[in-house]
Symmetry: C2
Subunit: 505 residues, 2 copies
């Protein structure tokens, strides 16, 4: 590298490191607000978060950032950079151009509206009052349509939104994988609904003391290889994982006294996210690459641990005895096979976040199809409840009795997060495809799980996925790991096999 | 206020509010590091704290800050400001001028050295090796002497340092109050040493479970009127209080299993600091006045609660029964009078932070006299151990057997904090003087404490002290509250009365 290029890179690194410092501070302020900050400090605290976010955004869109990304994108300079350096430049430039393309006053109006719309959504959901929410949501949609114009339309207008969460993902690709998935899942869901082999789930809803739930959760996280010297477990209303830096990746869970599995599976899920971030190569610290490759790849790691490992029979052949020891009275006389069937109970229900592993994907497909209608077909916001209910009837055979149980259930749209939902099912698809390779490369996969020997799995994932952080794109990762592009059949195969056996179809 | 002045004030307020946002974030990052942040994240975290501190310092010393403080200090503009606004301008200008007077490259060299010297101090203390520490400490002292030249010498060179922690305090004043105090305390300490009436303290050092200690601490904090909706209690190696904003003032304590009083009194102490910050007028939020008036006034509030209330007989007449209920086995057959005598045991010891209420002041006076020798009389750093030991022999009748138990015991000097120690005894003096007025204005003071009716005391302190934050100077506060300037006789009177009775002198 020429001397002046080295010098410029050092200055650029200092700027990136400053941005990442802001993000660490903002992350901790958020974590603290959700885990135990006193309520009377929240108002000032929110202003502080706003101030720091503003500073970070100012740096990301600064003239300096513009100059650096332009300079390092010149072919003669690019040639002197490593692959990782080029990826950093590319990602920063994309972010810079995306942010700069929106007139600042329009972005500010949008940010204020989005914050307000989230508040309106909370009230609307509570009062089952879509009409009060509709004018705000319409404005959010209008803003997003305006932003798509600033950002530039790819193949279709909705592609622009998908790309924000899953780089290079297109409607064409999602349509293909979702329709293949849907065509295989809908009959499976119907067959299960018709099956007489319903599991007994009553014992999952006895009263389980919080202390014991917490102890068991800590034990499972340790078994997964979660590093408590680089993280901690706390309690919050909604479970989450937050990577402040790769040496400080925190997770939270929520304990329901009358539901022993909720905290177990949320710990496995958030633990999966956290293992990813804890094992990102330390050399990426202080750069925008020290995070997951995309929302979908991140979700694949949480789903792999939560569902494909955590809801498997070998896992509970090893750990059910431990769970019973934590709750001897509640789980007396329960057999591991009955427990396994209970935690995999399929039921066509209204609420996405409570859905089982199988029908979850249909909840996502419905949202994806509706978002596509809004942005590519001009579906009017006022028609959302009707479209929503029709799709639930078509795919799940049930019609939400109220909008609170239907179109009003998720927070995402009120905050302008269109294009995000697809990542959840992409995560499941990536995970199943990775699982297939994992089983081939580690043929003793099931035996190891049944023996509680989980660390080789964590090591394989670190080697193949975790360490790279965002230095590879989602498509590079899935192809590098599995040798082929995203293929929804792995998920469909996995689900068909699992549920055919479970429900003796 | 003229229109253009109003507009300028709004811009100035935005700058102040941004600085205070940085300080809130830095405060939380520190709190988190000390209460439970995972160790592997600490290195990146320290860099983040450094970055944010740098940003905050940059704003405090910015050209903008210079322009604002110059503008608002013009007589024609000052006339249009409220008292509080004028105090804000005055404090910001003082800070600005102090910081700007040091050449940035010298300050940076100093900051690096100070950080390194703290590390060297830790090792030197552990190895009882003053010689290895001496060259570093010498450089710190040289830097401080150089800074005094930049800052400007007041009456004596050491005055410049005192003023940083206690505005307008001078050697002349401290000499006067400390010599009066010393002349009354030394004979009292000698009389106690000669007294045959030694209390039994054995029962304080039985084994006390942490859970019960925590429960009792929470109970006492609640009794004091500490607002748990605007704060929280956590555990850390060294107890501290930190006001992130007046709606979020956190305290920590440390539990020693074989010492039940350590956590109780540190909770009362930190609780006193926290009550102060929780009750600062909300209108000061986002300005530099939303903090205590000075180190000494702050310390007066912690000492008042810890010692004058918390180590009083009426307090334990009310609460000893509660403590016994938390530890029935450990405190069986202990009478409240015996407990009261035990917690007020006087013993001439080497370590300041473990000293009793009485001899504590002598530890401080020794440090003050030594600092004065260094900065006003040219005492050489290499002679510190000898001077230290001689003073301990003179005032406390004991000679430290090692430097670790002597001159190496405190962290302050290694970080360049000269001028700070005096605040601790000033706090005791302010507190005793305030207590005298408090007893006059609330004649039922002792009966109320004995009845557990502590809230009127908190209200009186809020009314007279807490609410003002830093909008009054320390001298304004002590004169407004007690009608006279700082007078050391109140502390001497209080201690003489208390210990004459306790030791039947």
């Amino acid at each position: 590298m020429e001397q002046h290029v080295t010098e410029e890179w050092e200055k650029f690194s200092a700027l990136l490191s400053k941005i990442s410092g802001y993000n660490e501070a903002i992350g901790l302020l958020h974590w603290d607000l959700r885990t135990g900050a006193p309520r009377k400090g929240a108002e000032v605290r929110s202003r502080t978060v706003g101030m720091l976010s503003g500073e970070s955004f100012r740096l990301e869109t600064s003239a300096e950032m513009g100059r650096f990304t332009e300079f390092f994108s010149r072919p003669a300079i690019m040639n002197q950079l490593t692959d990782i350096q080029n990826k950093i430049v590319k990602d920063c430039r994309k972010e810079y151009e995306r942010s700069k393309s929106i007139p600042p006053e329009r972005y500010e109006e949008y940010a204020v509206l989005a914050a307000h719309t989230e508040t309106m959504w909370e009230a609307a959901k509570e009062n089952n009052d879509f009409a009060s929410f509709e004018p705000f949501l319409s404005k959010i949609v209008d803003f997003k349509k305006e932003f798509i114009d600033y950002w530039g339309v790819k193949e279709t207008r909705y592609d622009t939104l998908l790309d924000m969460y899953e780089p290079d993902l297109t409607v064409k690709k999602v349509d293909e994988v979702f329709s293949r998935l849907r065509s295989r899942l809908v009959p499976l869901v119907e067959a299960i609904a018709a099956s007489p082999n319903k599991p007994d789930t009553e014992f999952l809803n006895r009263i389980f003391e919080k202390d014991q739930q917490e102890k068991f959760g800590l034990f499972i996280l340790e078994q997964m290889g979660y590093d408590f010297d680089a993280g901690r477990l706390d309690e919050s209303v909604h479970p989450f994982a937050t990577g402040l830096n790769p040496g400080d990746v925190r997770i939270t869970t929520n304990y329901l006294l009358d539901n022993v599995t909720s905290a177990v599976f949320s710990s496995l899920h958030e633990g999966g996210h956290a293992l990813y971030e804890q094992n990102i190569n330390k050399e990426l610290v202080g750069t925008p690459l020290a995070q997951g490759a995309s929302m979908g790849i991140h979700e694949s790691q949480s789903r792999l641990w939560e569902n494909m490992i955590g809801r498997s029979l070998p896992f509970w052949q090893r750990y059910f005895n431990d769970l019973q020891q934590h709750f001897p009275a509640q789980l007396v006389n329960v057999e591991v096979e009955d427990f396994y069937r209970a935690i995999n109970n399929v039921s066509n229900s209204f609420i996405r976040i409570e859905a089982d592993e199988l029908t979850y994907n249909l909840h996502i497909i419905i949202r994806y199809e509706i978002e596509k209608l809004i942005f590519n077909e001009g579906l009017d916001v006022k028609d959302l409840p009707a479209v929503w209910n029709a799709k639930y009837q078509e795919y799940l055979g049930i019609t939400p009795p109220t909008d609170s149980l239907g179109v009003l259930q998720d927070v995402h749209w009120s905050g302008g997060d269109f294009g995000y939902f697809a990542s959840y099912s992409l995560g499941n698809m990536y995970a199943a495809q990775m699982l297939n390779t994992l089983r081939k490369e580690l043929p003793e996969f099931d035996e190891w799980i049944a023996a509680g020997n989980l660390l080789p799995i964590k090591e394989w994932l670190t080697d193949k996925i975790y360490q790279y952080g965002q230095s590879l794109t989602p498509s590079q990762i899935i192809e590098q790991v599995t040798g082929e592009p995203l293929n929804p059949d792995y998920l469909a195969d996995y689900l068909e096999k699992k549920y055919t056996e479970l429900y003796k179809l």
